[in-house]
Symmetry: C2
Subunit: 249 residues, 2 copies
DNA sequence: CGCGCGTTTGACATGACTCAAATGCTGTGG
DNA sequence: CCACAGCATTTGAGTCATGTCAAACGCGCG
């Protein structure tokens, strides 16, 4: 249980990370998690001229939908987002949740229009990378393209694991896996691995994990009865990480 | 029903596409589907010196497993492959099937070891791209990196659709979607969209779709009773594409 | 402060799984 | 070339995890 939360607030608030639109990459608190990692100073300056920093969006803001032409990639600067794809009949699947430093729109690079939809789960902001520019400067900044390849590959590997989750895991295993995945990502961002806010709704979680809302609700209740977590609305405390790891399957 | 099968054999045999190890990219029958697309002549010559063409593997050959260090990407030259990832307890998920011209190993770029396993489903061969080299020549052949980005993005988009399938679709919808996906990929390779061989076992199909083998078997039987397909062992004939499309959900 | 929606909880239904057994196919060795 | 062994596939019967329907609750937003 002995967590080393050096400079960590009790509850994360990703929306508060960075609201200043004028912070350059080299001064951004996300520097070590974000795109510019590995770029030299010259390239960093170039990148700063390309990136467009968004205003602060409120909850439910649509970054893009599958009907819109692909123009830009986005990196979350603060807050969080979800992406979804829609079947012909309107059913949709939450394909991912995105936190500061993570890319949104990587699945769009190869085509005219975004194949998915992206919207904010809370007060949020992004850095926007116009893609036409990015392609042009590929030759000038090969290191940036390597970064892009790395990011794409990482998301791909994550999605393969989600396929394992959706295809093979039980409801218990799904939720345990999901909670630990969130935990790890919060920790990577310097927040507590055991105390955080779920910015997404129960129904978003259920949808993402291929479950019914009611099932997720029941699981939360049972996990709490068992003493593995404490859940109150959107606030989550993980009390028994080892047990959850064991549950992951 | 009026299919225009111009130069198409009755049944596809991907294993027969190209067995000559000495065919250079520019002369390869897969040229238009493969990596070199968009490269100028100079780059194509360079690429030819980098690529290593494998011998002909037999069914069940392991290209790599998740324990091995990441060295190369592979492009299927003939035959077909499946990739899987394994959970801690040994359960595994078939994450994809790969046909001539398609990349295997893209999810490995960002890390030391392959995160998944790849093995051939039939007599098969590959072109191997040692990745260290590829990274070095990124500057020289930016167009190649764009191709890589495009491929990665395409696979990512495909995987998002698989998440929709695994998370939201019924067994009927899953199988219909799967069969049409195969159909489309065969057609892209110049084969019949309605007559082909399933190189993967029922249990591979079941696993990939998040179903039990018995369910898949029953579905094949029922689809046949309904007159939508004719299935005999590994040979499939699609009789009613429209119905399957309607079933996709 | 009150309305509305998100969440929780309960009761019941069912699609798909598991277990079991028959059948069929494939590759191998005599 | 055929016979056999072993594995893949099919088919049937019964169960179960999770979904669906319904209703109460309560938090958060306006």
């Amino acid at each position: 249980m002995a967590q080393t939360n050096t400079v960590t607030p009790l509850f994360n608030d990703l929306a508060k990370i960075e609201h200043d639109r004028n912070v350059a990459c080299h001064a951004c608190s996300l520097y070590s998690l974000c795109l510019p990692l590995g770029l030299d100073n010259n390239d960093l300056v170039k990148l700063d001229t390309i990136i467009e920093r968004s205003q602060n969006y409120k909850r439910g803001h649509t970054l893009f939908t599958s009907k819109q032409p692909f123009k830009s990639l986005f990196v979350v600067r603060s807050g969080s987002f979800k992406t979804t794809i829609s079947a012909a009949d309107g059913r949709d699947q939450v394909t991912g949740f995105y936190f500061p430093g993570e890319f949104i729109g990587l699945d769009a690079i190869h085509q005219q229009n975004y194949p998915s939809n992206a919207r904010s789960l809370e007060s949020s902001s992004v850095c926007e990378l116009p893609f036409s520019n990015l392609e042009d400067i590929g030759k000038e900044m090969p290191q940036l393209q390597i970064q892009m390849l790395t990011r794409l590959s990482k998301e791909l590997a994550g999605d393969k694991n989600l396929m394992l989750l959706l295809g093979k895991k039980t409801a218990d295993e799904k939720l345990a896996t999901f909670l630990l995945s969130l935990s790890k990502r919060f920790q990577e961002r310097g927040f507590s691995a055991t105390n955080f806010q779920l910015s997404m709704s129960r129904s978003d979680i259920a949808n993402h994990l291929g479950l019914a809302v009611e099932t997720v609700s029941r699981l939360f209740s049972r996990f709490q009865e068992e003493g593995w977590i404490v859940i109150a609305g959107k606030s989550l405390v993980i009390k028994n990480t080892a047990k959850l790891e064991q549950l992951c399957g």
